[in-house]
Amino acid sequence: MAKIIVVTSGKGGVGKTTSSAAIATGLALQGHKTVVVDFDVGLRNLDLIMGCERRVVYDFVNVINKEATLNQALIKDKRTDGLFILPASQTRDKDALTMEGVQTVLDDLSKDFEFIICDSPAGIEQGAQMALYFADEAIVVTNPEVSSVRDSDRILGILQSKSMRAEQGKNVKEHLLLTRYNPDRVATAEMLSVADVEEILAVPLVGVIPESEAVLKASNQGAPVILDQESNAGQAYTDAVRRLLGETVEYRFIEAQKKGFFKRLLGGK
């Protein structure tokens, strides 16, 4: 039986796809057979971030409609062993994913994989609800910014009322993943701190990913940023994956860099 983890946020553009790709890769690197599923129907992008866009033949909707088998649609990652991608469909039909169809596919994947990572579309409507419905756990991606935090709370409300586990009177285990964090701006009181967001949402923290140029570089190249272990963001994702697996890992990259007086005077970064 696989563990199904949805990566969700409510607000768009906060780093769900970046995080899904990194976390799925991280889990596979730790030896857990993992599949990452793109639920963003019509806006397929996970394939680009994973660098497999030219190998997409069939997609999630083809499998649901029995136009292809699961094995035909799954793309085996070329860099990381034990990692597979199920791409989203490019159809404009918003109802292409049916509840029964999704359930059948997830059940089939469950037989073969340890982890199923679901990359949710933005919003709190049908698409996002479909992505989280079958989840055992949820990673709520949040930026330290007012509208993102509020939307995270809205998606928490949906997880607690509209998921399958909620309907069965059980909880979906929640994890807070704070991304695009800028410790320097937190130090100058321009940005909400990790502690602030934790206190407002009251969800256990699984990781803090710093704002990093490495993320754009990684997406340009189609290699999940976790593979760039030189970068802060890559290391922070590795820490988050280890915490997800139950380890206790100290937080890094959450303190402002101490700058010397002269550097500050000259405006050094």
Binding site: V146, R150, V186, L192, D196, I200, R264, L265, G267
Partner: protein
């Protein structure tokens, strides 16, 4: 940060604290709304109608809230009467 920012920094408002306070209020409000029983809006409407038999008040002059404390729920009814 250059020298000017550095000198100006003293007078800078703490915008993160403002954000935090606003979020705490709105999140608490929205969470309460999510968990309140379905009958609450209807009940509020009926209470409003009863009061209007006697005093003219606007919709927003009645507020009904359900607060959960340890071993009981408290229904808090707030009615502001005109002068």
């Amino acid at each position: 940060m250059g020298i000017f920012d550095y000198l100006l920094k003293k007078g800078k408002p703490n915008t993160a604290a403002v954000a935090k306070e606003r979020l705490q209020i709105i999140v608490a409000h929205e969470r309460r709304k999510r968990t309140e029983p379905d009958y609450l809006p209807m009940m509020q409407q009926e209470i409003l109608e009863v009061i209007r038999k006697y005093v003219q008040i606007a919709d927003d002059q009645v507020s009904v809230q359900l607060e959960d404390s340890d071993d009981c729920s408290v229904l808090e009814l707030n009615i502001t009467l005109p002068e």
